[in-house]
Structure formats: C-alpha cells, structure tokens
Amino acid sequence: MIEIKNLVKSFDETQVLKGISTTFEKGKTNLIIGQSGSGKTVFLKSILGLFEADSGEIIFGNTSLKSMDLKERALLRQEIGMVFQGSALFDSMNVEENIMFPMRMFTTASEEEIRERANTVINRVNLVNANLKLPSEISGGMKKRVAIARAIIMNPKYLFCDEPNSGLDPRTAILIDNLIQEITREYEITTVINTHDMNSVMEIGEKIVFLENGFKEWEGTNQEIFKTDNESVTKFVYSSEMFKKIRKIYIDESI
C-alpha cells in the first residue's frame, strides 16, 4: 500500500500539486486520471522520487519516504517497477538484456539463474521470438511487454505505469491493460497507472483518483464513476458521445 498525505510540488512560481492526499491499495490497479496539465505526471514522478516534493508525505508500506536514508531509498527503488510512456528501453541492449538488466545490476545471481528468471517473465508477458531483437526492431505493443517484463523481473512490491497504452491500437491497449491487471493480482503488487485512456478507466480502474488543476477532485472505483454527479469528472470522462451512451445504458440497467 502507498499512502500520500498532503503532497505539494511547485516549479518556480507555479504550484503544480496543491496538497493531494490519497491511498493506493495493494493487489489493485490504482488509476490516476485527469486532463493534460492537471499534474498527473508530476504526481507520479513525485511519488517515485524523480521530483522532490516541497511538502507532504509519501508512505510506502509503513515507512515514510522522508524518514528513509539514502541506503533505504536505494533498497526501496529495487522494490519498484516502472513502465514508462515510451517504454524507455535501452537502445544499446537487446530485448533479453533489457529484461535481465535490473537483476544483473542488483543481484548476485548467476547468469543461468538470471536467464531462467528472464525466461519466466518473458513467457508471462507473452513475448515470442523477440529475445535477441533490438528495441528498434519490435512493435510498440511488444516494447510495452518488454517494459512490463523488465519492471516485474525483480518481483516488485510496487508497479508504476505512465500511460502504458498510449500509441497502441485499441486491441493491443486492452491486452496490455489486462496483462497489468493480471500481474497486479497474481503478484499482489500495488499498481499505480497514470492514464487518460477511458477504456482503461472502465476496464481496470479498481481505484480511480481524478486530478484537476493540481487538486484531487474525486476518487472512487470504475463502478462509482458511472454514478458520480461530480461535474468535472463527468465532463472529462463522458466527453465523447459513446461514453455518454455507455453511462446512460449502465444507469438504466441499474435502475
């Protein structure tokens, strides 16, 4: 579980995060949604420690990030997996080397053990015949799978995904969403996904945090989002005619 208390972050004179508090639950896919510029990426990167928050607290498990020394922070980072928007695969390494990289860096496991573990996660994310290919030689969907495999090879407690299905076709996007949800449940990971893909919200949003202008405007589940009368949420989520119809059908059926 990750608990965020009153997180504030500014860049120069602009306050981007204005005191956000929420909880991300273990074994669930927690989604952060909001318009572009609402502070989603800054929020995610602040939790990860890529940006130092001005004030507030980030608690991983039972330990506050503030109270951790550098060594403890380094150990925590080894419990974190991250899937970046553009996959962030290392260009100079092939698929297999990319996936094995965290284990080679942080464990004393033999090459044979590392390869065995890599093959397990490669099979888990359904990557076929790609081990020796370079990132430039594989498709966007495969890159995401490699990024997920690299993120879970160390058995992380926390998985962060920044727009994991951006740039993917709808079918691949759903496959990636489902893969993340399955992995989250299977390994009991606390997964935090930053997205503005409404399909993801409907499909895998077990907990949704909606940000607007640096504030937490709303939070709930993908069932509750159908019923909410929060104006900002409905404007954002049901901006397309299709989702308006889906919502209407859902409400009619509920009645």
């Binding site: 990167k45 990860l48 890529l50 922070r73 380094a74 150990l75 925590l76 980072r77 080894q78 974190i80 991250m82 970046f84 928007q85 553009g86 962030a88 695969l89 290392f90 260009d91 100079s92 965290p102 080679r104 860096m105 942080f106 962060f160």
Partner: protein, 233 residues
Amino acid sequence: MIQKTFGKFTKWGVLKNLIVREIDDLIIGSLGIVAFISFFVGGVVAIQTAINTDNPLLPGYLVGFATRQSIILEFAPTFISIIMAGKVGSFITSSLGTMRVTEQIDALEVMGINTYNYLIFPKIIALTLYPFLISFSMALGILGGYLACVSGGFSSHADFVDGLQLDFRSFHIVYAFIKTFLFAMLLATIPSYHGYFMKGGALDVGKASTTSFVWTSVAIIITNSIVTNLLLT
C-alpha cells in the same frame, strides 16, 4: 555533476563492460578519421612550409623541423581535439540527450542507479586513453609530411630527418600530453553536461549537440592558451 560521477559506484561487472564499450565508441571509433586527417594535413603542412621557405639562404632541414613542431605542439593536440569536440562531443551529447528525451535516464534513476556514475564515469575513463589517439595523430602527421615532401621533391630524406631531430626538446612532448589530457577531460565532461541536463524533444538534442560543440571548442582554445602561457613562456 563531477562529485556525483565519482560517488556510489556501479557494480564492477557492469561498469567494466560499459568502459570497454565507451573505449570502442570514443577511441577506437575515432582512429579512422584521426588517421585520415592527420596524414593529409601533415602532408599539406610540410608542402606549405616547403613552398613558403623556398629560399637558398634557408637550410633544407627547416621543412622537417617546422612540420614536427607544428604537428606536435599544435596540430595533433589542439586541432584534432577540436575535431573530436565535433565527433566525440556530439556523440556523447546526442546519446545522453536521446536517453533523456526517451526517459531512459529516468528508468535508470527509478531503479536506484547512480546515473552520473553509470553514464558519465565510463566516458571519462575511456577518454583517459585519448593521449594514445593524439600520439597516433602525431606519428601519422609527421609520416604524411615526410611522404609528401620526399615524394613531391620538396625536400630530401636526409634533410627532412635532420629537421625532425634538430633541437628536439622532450619537454615539448610533455607539454603536448599535459594539454591533451586536459582536453580529454573537457571532451568527456562538457558534452556529458549538455546531454545529461538536456530538456525538450528531438530538435533540442540537435541544439544541445551544437551548443556542446561550441562550448567544448571554446574551452579547448582557452585551456590551450592558459597552458601554453604557463608551460612554454
């Protein structure tokens, strides 16, 4: 940046592979262009000197002497370094800049890796071998001068070799390598800084490479001036 580069070291098993790769990219990969430029510029320097000193009152060994002095003192250390600011410097800036733009540096940071040490330290170590590249340039520059002069009939073998040996001061070699080493550190650090701290997108990678080349060249010229004033005057 320098302090962090030498702090929290990357696992040796990984680091040694990175150093070998950087030596291959930055030093071995530059041998061809350095050889080509040094050989032909050495030849041109010798021919120009011969043409401009074509006077019966001037000794024949002057061409060899002038070629040696200009190549060892300036051409090989300084001008090859400026060319390397374009080749090696741009490579460093653009590769780090691309890693920044594509979030590869963020990915390393999330894993808890000291990205300064992982990315910049191997480049600094690889460029400590830069003086070997410059000695290679000196040798080929003089060889190019010799072949151009002797085969073109501008000077005899004996005169050119006499000129090469005339008034040889080993301190000139020390001076050349001291400044070469300083240039190597500039070549490793300035482009790394511009690449690592780059902000923006693909277009900005190009801009950062150009800025890095300009500042590395300026730093090389200023350092050259300071070192020459300190050591040779």
